[in-house]
């Protein structure tokens, strides 16, 4: 039977995530965007939510089950606080979740416990490549089998926290199929290059990374000999990004709504004019619709069903929606929307990223 009501546990998690995001994320959003560095509190305080350990079963050191639905509910709240902060906090998932979903028993035993301690541990994934016609199903980074090893070569961009992370899950084409390889950051042939300079998500450090004849043992291939279900990981990444797009859009909408009730023009609040009020009504409607789409895709993933179509549609819809909503928020603020003392320009810059980023988060 249909239901649109989260469980009581999920409601508690959402509530905690919201409070944390308001307290630690939003309060530092502007300052850290200007500094282009994350705040230490984002990972330190954020980790106390325990979201990732709660997603890992006891046998691997955690205390729960992974649920995409729970994660998308939380991710919306986190990204509403601040997108960069949410991405930093979710970065360990980039390794932990693919291992959880696709790893061999040995990989799970070896890797997951490290993500269950009470200290945040950065991790990373390298999917994107620096070209406009990037296609995750047709990567230029190659993996070649050589004896008991794989040799990886290629150029990656927008690799989250590459400098800090202990390991990077590198996506590469193996005989034309995209597969993933666990690469310790200090492996020979891995070079973390320059920090990316993007329009938004500025407090989320992203790097370009070069792989030059980087050799990893075959045991490091995600899923072992049989490899991993890359489509599943890509779907999961889309759903995670979409949930965060919701958060950014909601932040913009709420701010513009409150502003419109305060700001007076021609003797009354601008929200009392239909042109503004209807715009807000449309923003609220599309937000709600997008949320349902994200929930549906997450629900499919939780059930182990094919979510390729739904996650694609959700990503498409939320990606557009986030930009439109953020843009309309800027418009509602008028000239102030253009000024960095107000947050909406930051949300517009962040929102634009959803259409172009892939694989920088996974929930």
């Amino acid at each position: 039977m249909y239901s649109f009501e989260p469980t009581d546990d999920q409601k508690i998690i959402v509530d905690e995530a919201r409070k944390l995001a308001e307290r630690e994320f939003r309060s530092r959003m502007r300052e850290n965007d200007e500094k282009e560095e994350p705040a230490p509190e984002w990972s330190e305080e954020g980790w106390k939510l325990g979201l990732l350990p709660a997603s890992i079963p006891e046998e691997y050191g955690g205390f729960g089950e992974h649920s995409f639905l729970t994660w998308v509910l939380a991710a919306e709240e986190l990204a509403r606080g601040d997108l960069s902060a949410a991405l930093v906090l979710a970065a360990p998932n980039l390794v932990a979740v693919p291992v959880l979903l696709c790893g061999t028993e040995e990989q799970k035993k070896e890797i997951l416990p490290a993500f269950c301690s009470d200290r945040y541990r950065a991790a990373s994934a390298a999917l994107l490549e620096p070209r406009f016609n990037f296609d995750p199903a047709d990567l230029k980074t190659k993996a070649v089998q050589k004896g008991g090893d794989y040799v990886l070569s290629g150029a990656k961009c927008n690799v989250p926290l590459a400098d800090e992370a202990g390991e990077i899950l590198v996506y590469a084409s193996l005989d034309g199929k995209t597969q993933a390889f666990l690469v310790p950051k200090n492996a020979p042939g891995v070079a973390v290059k320059k920090r990316e300079r993007n329009m938004g998500m500025k407090a989320f450090p992203l790097y370009s990374v070069a792989l030059e004849e980087c050799v990893v043992p075959s045991a490091n291939r995600l899923g072992g000999e049989n490899g991993c279900d890359f489509r599943l990981l890509l779907d999961a990444s889309k759903v995670g990004l979409s949930a965060m797009a919701l958060g950014v859009a909601r932040a913009s909408y709420e701010y513009a709504r409150d502003y419109a009730k305060e700001r007076k023009a021609f003797g009354e609040a601008i929200a009392q004019r239909q042109s503004i009020a209807f715009t807000l009504a449309e923003m609220a409607t599309d937000l709600e619709a997008a949320r349902m789409m994200v929930w549906k895709a997450a629900w499919l993933l939780d059930r182990g069903l094919d979510a390729t179509r739904e996650s694609f549609l959700a990503a498409n819809f939320t990606g557009d929606m986030a930009v439109t909503v953020a843009d309309r928020a800027v418009q509602i603020l008028g000239g102030y929307g253009f000024i960095r003392e107000f947050p909406v320009e930051l949300w517009l810059r962040n929102a634009r990223g959803f259409a172009v980023m892939e694989g920088i988060t996974i929930v």
Binding site: Q274, A277, T285, E288, A289, W295, A355
Partner: protein, 402 residues
């Protein structure tokens, strides 16, 4: 726990409605578009004799449905996929019945709705709109004046769907909105039931429409139309405290997601058709490619598909609330405004994408474009539903946000 699992009950209802849509509606859709004002009797009789015993909403109370409203939006969506005019031409209590149940006494519900359980095909209609006011429904001028043991109705009603069916082609009912005190605005408004055959009610014109032609839309004149006192809907039995306006407005909270579902059905008809044509021509739809690498047509289609999905999920959310008797005014209006938008855009795009084929009356694309537009007009226009959402999210009264 959040779930998008369709219950078995709804699946059965939906599949049955889809079969009706495919076999009994779609093949005749074009004929009734080109023969406006003809009644699709074969279809009507089939619904009355057979289909309504399988589709819960068409014969309320006939089945013990766990989620009656959720089931209704699924059925309506599926029927409208075949043809929206056919769906609106179905003999069932429809919106009028909802109003009777929402604002009538037990006795009134029995007296006015029993006929829908009987042998003879029966329709209901609802007359609110007038020439000088549609959106501003509180401004109606049709008068009800008490005279001894009857109410006397005088006025003119426009755009009354299934007026002819309910008043001439069957022994049905029409719910007429009138005021007992024009100076009192909403507080003076009451709902009256006029039964077929009541002297003083005349149908003076059948509108010629852009689309949705299988459903008749008529002008109704009330001239000293006398109904018994007991025909004023009032759950309290007291004409002074009837709370009609509020009660009747609440029926829109379920009417709007239903209209939205109907719009989704038309939009899906368009999209299904486009996808079939593309597949026949070997043009794949790829859901796993970056968007900037899709062809223009692929991108149009996936955007339409995302919009359709968005509207449908809003309908489900609104319907889910109705079944749980939770307030849903915002969700209901959201679903309606979204469906009005997307059905308009998707059907217009459908004509464009198929080129001259889309424009041709040989296919149904152009018809869907004509039909779909009404979704953004009736049951509250797109603007009115935006107004409702906006007032709620901003916490404004009608005076603060006009």
């Amino acid at each position: 726990m959040i779930s998008f699992e369709m219950s078995e009950e709804i699946r059965d209802q939906k599949e049955y409605a889809e079969k009706v849509s495919r076999e009994k509606i779609r093949p005749y859709a074009r004929h009734y578009d080109e023969h406006e004002h003809e009644v699709p009797w074969d279809f009507v009789n089939f619904i009355w004799d057979e289909a309504r015993h399988h589709i819960g909403c068409l014969l309320p109370g006939s089945m013990e449905l766990e989620e009656p409203f959720m089931s209704q939006v699924h059925s309506v969506e599926a029927l409208s996929w075949g043809d929206q005019g056919f769906y609106l031409a179905i003999p069932w209590p429809a919106l009028g019945g909802t109003a009777v149940r929402a604002t009538g006494t037990e006795e009134q519900i029995e007296r006015f709705l029993k006929r829908f359980q009987g042998e003879e095909v029966t329709w209901a209609s609802m007359a609110l709109t007038e020439a000088h006011c549609g959106s501003d429904s509180a401004a109606i001028r049709t008068r009800a004046v008490r005279d001894g043991d009857s109410w006397v109705l005088n006025g003119e009603k426009l755009f009354v769907s299934t007026a002819r069916e309910s008043m001439i082609n069957s022994k049905g009912i029409m719910i007429v909105w009138a005021t007992i005190d024009p100076a009192a605005g909403r507080k003076g408004m009451r709902l009256f039931v006029v039964e077929a055959g009541t002297p003083g009610l005349k149908i003076t014109r059948q509108e010629k429409k852009l689309g949705m032609r299988a459903s008749d839309t008529a002008v109704v004149v009330l001239e000293d139309c006398r109904v018994p006192l007991e025909n004023m809907l009032s759950s309290t039995g007291d004409p002074q405290k009837a709370k009609s306006f509020k009660g009747a407005m609440a029926t829109f909270d379920s009417a709007r997601p239903t209209a939205a579902a109907s719009g989704v059905g038309i939009a899906r008809a368009t999209l299904d058709f486009l996808k079939e044509r593309l597949a026949e021509n070997g043009i794949p739809l790829r859901y796993d490619r970056p968007r900037n690498q899709l062809s223009a047509i692929e991108r149009d289609i996936v955007d339409m598909e995302a919009q359709l999905e968005a509207a449908w999920l809003l309908v489900l959310k609104a319907a889910w609330l109705v079944d749980r008797k939770k307030p849903n005014t915002v969700e209901s209006s959201m679903s309606k405004l979204k469906a009005g938008d997307i059905v308009t855009k998707i059907t217009q795009k459908g004509v464009e994408l198929m080129g001259t084929l889309g424009y041709s009356r040989e296919l149904l694309l152009e018809k869907w474009m004509r039909d779909g537009k009404v979704i953004d007009l009736f049951e509250g226009t797109g603007q009115i539903n935006r107004l409702i959402v906006a007032r709620r999210i901003l916490g404004y009264t009608g005076r603060e946000l006009k």
